[in-house]
Symmetry: C2
Subunit: 466 residues, 2 copies
């Protein structure tokens, strides 16, 4: 074995003790919220067959999948001809011969696969949450990693809008618990967007409008107007668009004004259902009122919200933390046919996801991590010499039996070194029993944050630390 300077792959991270503890703090709040709302945990394998993953995330997604080399003689089916790249298709030809597995790219496709494979035994509606890492061979950059966690909750097998209302409740509950109070939950409905397309005579050209509207934040109204003119939309039509997009008022007022706008613009009722999107959003609002929901100030109906994923068909959600310059920390929506590509059509569902890395950065930027989040040893017992060490063993055992995370410094050493160890590890207390204390059957307990020292009996030490 040659000596080497080790490194980790680009876009991956080691999480040391302090960071793990803080991440677990976030995971814990999300997990407890999901469970309180009746979502049950699911875990799927890291390795999925490429036949399951490929074609689900668009061409770009297929490129970003991490593929795992077949084991053994992975070259056995590859010929020299396969390598000829005059047609630019060599990798496409060779790939299926050398790799049949890939790394999980998101938690949604594995969830759909699981539902289809277990449809015979699952109880529907099936509510599951899943907190696991995913992998994307994206170009690493600040805040974008190749290995990162997603926290998803989805329910499939019901059309009930109760699920949408509860997603709003869960989003609020998690953010409130994390202390992130200044946030906006944006909500929209794909049906509303569809109606807006109709108002613009854009049926069948949704993607053009979609792309343009999505840029509103960046290029403003003038930019979007120019782009739409270039794509052949007339000035009056574009005026109608902005009229619809810019309805003002609270949730209810926007719903009503948008409905009036649709009627004025001569938009037909969306399919047989009437203006389904607006109606469903109204019902979600009604359910939230029924719950006694109090955070309407954090909820915004935003007709310009589009969301990237193609499979959404109903309500869509997105959360932005207002006082932090960062993309959305959570998003989701309803889909009609997630399991269709695996041969199980007609299973409607709705789900959402938290981005833990972004939540982490928000909490750090706003100094919202509680002090206790970095769980570590609470008490270090000093080790003076072999005799003292022996005497401290039952003391150590007693502290642990009382549930107090404790350590005895593993060998006799200078006190300064032992205190340095405690400091470096974030230990709160050091317990000492020198010969004087031993004679009196007491201990010195030093609080490392305040520097205060108390002389206590063992029972008092346990009481002070428990």
């Amino acid at each position: 074995m040659s000596i080497q300077k080790p490194s980790i792959p680009k876009g991956t991270r080691d999480f040391g003790p302090a960071v793990v503890a803080r991440r677990n703090y976030i995971f814990g709040i999300i997990r407890r919220t999901f469970e309180k709302f009746g979502y049950a945990p699911l875990e799927t394998p890291t390795l999925e067959n490429l036949s399951v993953l490929t074609g689900k995330y668009g061409d770009e997604g297929d490129q970003l999948l991490f593929k795992v080399l077949n084991s053994g003689d992975f070259l056995k089916d590859v010929t020299a001809d396969d390598l000829t790249n005059e047609d630019g298709k060599a990798t496409r030809r060779v790939l299926p011969k050398v790799a049949e597995k890939g790394l999980r790219y998101d938690l949604t496709v594995p969830f759909a696969r699981y539902v289809v494979m277990n449809r015979g035994t699952l109880v529907f509606p099936f509510k599951r949450y899943q907190i696991q890492p995913v992998w994307r061979a994206d170009r690493p950059q600040r805040g974008r990693y190749r290995e990162f966690y997603q926290c998803d909750a989805d329910v499939v097998g019901t059309d009930s809008l109760l699920c949408e209302a509860e997603i709003v409740l869960m989003m609020c509950e998690v953010l409130n618990a994390l202390g992130l109070t200044d946030f906006t939950i944006k909500i929209n409905h794909r049906g509303v967007l569809r109606n807006i397309y109709q108002a613009l005579g854009g049926e069948g050209r949704e993607s053009d409008l979609f792309v343009a509207i999505d840029k509103l934040d960046k290029i403003g109204r003038d930019g979007v107007t120019t782009e739409l003119r270039e794509r052949g939309f007339s000035a009056p039509v574009i005026d109608t668009l902005f009229e619809l997009l810019s309805v003002s008022g609270d949730f209810q007022e926007k719903l009503e004004r948008l409905l009036a706008g649709f009627v004025t613009a001569g938009v037909e009722a969306d399919h047989a259902d009437g203006y389904k999107g607006l109606r469903e959003l109204g019902q979600v609002l009604e359910l939230l009122r029924g719950f006694g929901f109090e955070q309407f100030g954090n909820l915004e109906f935003d007709p310009t919200l589009a969301r990237g994923l193609s499979y959404y068909t109903g309500c869509i959600f997105e959360i932005k933390i207002n006082n932090v310059n960062m993309g959305s920390v959570s998003g989701g929506g309803r889909y009609d046919n997630l399991t269709g590509s695996f041969g199980l059509p007609g299973v409607s569902g709705v789900g959402f996801s938290f981005g833990v890395d972004r939540l982490y950065d928000c909490l750090e930027e706003l100094s919202l991590f509680p002090e206790g989040a970095a769980a570590t040893t609470r008490c270090l017992i000093a080790n003076f010499d072999a005799d003292n060490m022996t005497a401290m063993l039952p003391v150590l055992r007693g502290l642990r039996a009382a549930g107090i995370a404790s350590e005895l410094y593993p060998e006799p050493a200078k006190l300064a070194k032992q205190f340095k160890y405690a400091d470096g590890k974030g230990v709160a207390y050091v317990l000492l029993q020198g010969s004087e204390e031993r004679a009196a059957a007491v201990f010195k307990l030093k609080d490392l944050r305040t520097g205060q020292e108390q002389t206590l009996t063992l029972a008092q030490v346990v009481a002070a630390l428990a």
Copy 2:
């Protein structure tokens, strides 16, 4: 997208809600024990550079590493000549050109890499635990998976035998907490094995003896004798071997008899330290006595214990559950030079690991999972009709505010269907408010395990479920 019947890769598993809850029960006990003993959590990336992984697990291990295909044009450096396999080395030639990353194979090598990369900032002794999956391209079979979890705890930067004694304590604490009372912790020391080799004149031929002794369980004394005779050991020497291996008595007696045996056999004191292995085992025993350890009946000094991993140099451990037919559920040992191959020599450490899949199977076989382990919704509120659904929203919110995991059936449906849902999901209680109960401002609470039904006010319901 063509419709396909989805599957998961061989040797991988989906964990549904009930299994996740039971696995988390085991993880929780292990985690809490590690933390109580001052071990802090570490997480390393799934993807490691192959330069870090290769050569650390022997030739067979290198074969079993999952390699990840480089992204983009992974063929760009591969030539037709590389594919020529007349020398049988085509895969070896092509591999480094198409894959530079692999999946984590164990938690020890990533830990060593982490220590070396962070040596400037870590506080030593560094005590970390790590609970993460690993991947091995092994032939899948009953109880052997390609993706499975390991739970490791290691401390590096100290020679103190306190660590060894505490490993015994942690092993007992975890097994006791899981209810696995009938177990044996086998302990040995590589120095003892080395002295036994010397007694047989086998210095430099350790591996021959090692392999033979390892088979004692399977082929018995006669088989081992035959094998050693074939390898050139004489009959008297083999007699000495079995005399040493078969010392009887408790831990202390075995230590003393083995020491006497070494002297008789003319074994020289192991290096400058005297019979270091025996002496260190004696010190571990002494420390356990100092702790007031009470489970000496579960601890066995087994001079035949060898352990497979080559990097062990001191004490070695292994746990067997006696009343279950299964391999060891935990093992570990001390190593002198884990980080040497990464350029940091002389960092001694000791660690051990629990095999969660085997612990799971033991608990299942012995019916030791507690009832509450499958955390799920505690209360389902029945949904009679739209009015009733609206009335139940604040009730649902109140239950959750009291920390009770609750659901409202998402749409009005036949009661039988709703009860079937609750049953299938393992929900303990169903709460109903028909028109009669509503008029009286009370609820019916049905316990699904006993079938008992109570009529209660909301406050009483909360009290009953909290």
